[in-house]
């Protein structure tokens, strides 16, 4: 009977990890979208103001976008770890097997 309770708790822990992963990546994508939108707006305004600088402005904008994207990617890696490569995965699986 105690093993069944442990199995249920292991399942709840896993559900909590996966939910956290889902919300984490959603919040990161939200912030990343706003930030990259601000960068693109400034780049487009700069090009509209001075069309000759379009090459340099575009390269700088792409670099800035890639650096902001990398922050979202860090969150993606953490979410993937929570879902697929959780450090306590074997312990939880053992509890599943018992419960």
């Amino acid at each position: 009977m105690g093993e069944q309770v442990l199995g249920v708790q292991a399942l709840q822990f896993f559900i909590a990890s996966v939910t956290a992963a889902g919300f984490g990546i959603a919040i990161a994508a939200f912030g990343c979208g706003i930030a990259q939108g601000i960068a693109c707006r400034s780049a487009v305004e700069g090009i509209a103001r001075n069309p000759e600088s379009s090459g340099k402005v575009t390269v700088t904008m792409i670099i800035g976008l890639a650096l902001m994207e990398s922050l979202c990617i860090y969150t993606l890696v953490v979410a993937l770890i929570l879902i697929y490569a959780h450090p306590q995965a074997s312990a939880i699986a053992a509890l599943f097997g018992a419960g």
């Binding site: 792409i62 890639a66 990617i73 890696v77």
Partner: protein, 229 residues
Amino acid sequence: MEHPYLFFVKFFELIGLGHFAHSYPHVIYSWVVMIILIVLSAIATKGITMIPTKGQNVLEMIISGLEEFMVSVTGEQGRWLLPLAATVFLYVATCNLIGLIPGCYPPTASLNTTLSCALPVVIFTHIIGLKFHGVKYIKHFLGPVWWMIPIIFPIEVISHLARILSLTFRLFGNIMGHELVLGILMGLAGLFFAPLPIMALGIFVCFVQAFVFFLLSIMYFSGAMEHAH
């Protein structure tokens, strides 16, 4: 997720080293990338002439474009860094692009390869700093005023360690995420060519990530070469 079918892993299975090939596909494909880069460069530079044609022309365009961009970021003092920086760019770009060929696994989708690209860059930063400034290189870590040293020094050390992590995880996350999305879309609707738009985005992402790695490397090198604030 189904087991991927990789050409060179199958080839190694035929030789008899199947167990090694299945556990370390990123090592095998990094060998493939090395062989491709060496063979293409050897073919293009076989008969070097003053007026370039064909393969030599393409290579000259790539290398001179990289060199001019690098000098515009670091100044004339950074011109000697071109071999390391261009090698990093070409290696990372080819590793990323190999992933777009069906049946090939990008080596940079594994943390080992990206860490192996990031560690030499960061360690070389410190070697450059010690070579150019000697013991006074520590001034880079100490900040503008002497009484803020206990706060600034740990922050600078942690930020230098974080450079390794950020370079590694940026490249790994982008390429691994790309591979995961391709795998999931293939499982969902492979027959309807669903992964194709992601592969088109993937070409762009491969070049941009190699370029960002290259740009950050030369910015770290030039930051170590210049005088401390």
